[in-house]
Symmetry: C2
Subunit: 232 residues, 2 copies
């Protein structure tokens, strides 16, 4: 297809497609005639991936370029692609390296040890978790030992599902795609599902009533369509 | 304390403290003498909360103002504070309301049904999860039924830990604080812990080697301190 159709298929302006090419995010098209360049389905897929990484996952252009280079390495081990996807996420600024932060980092290392997780000391999750913990402790006191282990229970199940989804793919190229998409969009999906499970847990603990969000009028078709409790 | 000490304690410039006051994020100090206003520990705590909500959770000033109004309502049910905290998060733009999006929304509603979650149709997690699902399907195909249920297993445990941490607080004010902090900082903590559990799951599946991240030199004190595998 020509660039006009590529633009139509991906709903991305031609100028943006050319920008992606200049930034090295999209391989050049194939020259089909002296004055004409053709694009294929791989270009469509790549553009969709780049858009999702910028718009849903919030990655910078530089981070996407590095990640794509790893993805495009022939015969790259899946394990290494996962590492690259993990490192590509922006991380919150770390607090100045004071005592409270070192204590939080130690607490996370102890959790890793307790769970028997095989984790490399360079995994960005270690420092990111410690950073959240420092702020958390400042805001709502010290009592989170049970909470950390409860979260660890949950993420073990989530990570097992992540890796099972990767393994079930037949070829390396698909695996790589699943690792990148799953790692980077998965956080948002998990946060959304947590809202649902929280409401349920809260409903069981604190109320006998209907729920925590204002109930829309029954005539609102937008919501009626998704009401999982409506008798059908 | 006077505003200078409040600024020092919170490491926030006086101009920003005054800005918070103008925006209604911080109650006024108490007039101690005709020309002097005094602040207390509650002001310190409130400033720390507002900073964490902007810097770690990424909330807008308007969203924080609404959330604080709910938190400050006397005798507010905890369940309602949870709802307000959930709704205060920024959500990704929804795709134009096409068929794929309706199908994804139905899929999430079926998941909720299957898990027996009591969820109000206005819970923002429903639409947010559907939005991610549409992008995900576009990028890596259809095979995510097992993944969704695996994630649901995980978030059920996480939500149970969330609510247990709330219940263990003795008074309503502390509960409210834990709900808000936990809901909004918890996503970041869970994403960080997921990186650790993923590396472990991937190590077990795909490698016999040490890990997915470049190993720092053993002399790097920053990392040596958190190596959970180092023999001690």
């Amino acid at each position: 297809m020509r660039i006009g159709e590529l633009s139509r298929r991906t709903q991305l302006p031609i100028a943006t497609i050319k920008y992606y090419q200049r930034e090295g995010l999209l391989p050049p098209g194939e020259r089909t005639r002296p004055n004409q360049v053709g694009y294929g389905e791989l270009h469509v897929l790549r553009i969709r991936l780049v858009r999702a990484l910028t718009e849903v996952a919030g990655l910078s252009i530089a981070a996407i370029r590095e990640l794509l280079a790893v993805m495009d390495t022939p015969d790259i081990p899946v394990h290494q692609v996962l590492g690259a996807a993990q490192r590509s996420l922006p991380s919150a600024p770390e607090p100045s390296n004071d005592q409270r932060w070192s204590a939080a980092l130690r607490e996370i290392a102890e959790l890793v040890d307790r769970r028997g997780w095989r984790v490399n000391p360079n995994n960005p999750g270690l420092r990111a978790a410690a950073t959240v913990l420092v702020t958390w402790r400042e805001l709502s006191g010290d009592n989170r030992a049970g909470l950390l282990d409860g979260y660890a229970d949950g993420v073990e199940r989530i990570a097992a599902a992540d890796l099972a989804a990767v393994r079930e793919r037949g070829n390396l190229e698909d695996m790589v795609q699943v690792v990148v998409v799953g790692t980077l969009l998965g956080d948002t999906l998990i946060a959304a599902l947590r809202r649902l499970a929280q409401e349920d847990a809260s409903a069981r603990l604190f109320t006998t009533g209907p729920g925590i969000h204002p109930v829309p009028a029954p005539s609102d078709p937008d919501h009626a369509a998704v009401d999982p409790c409506s008798p059908t």
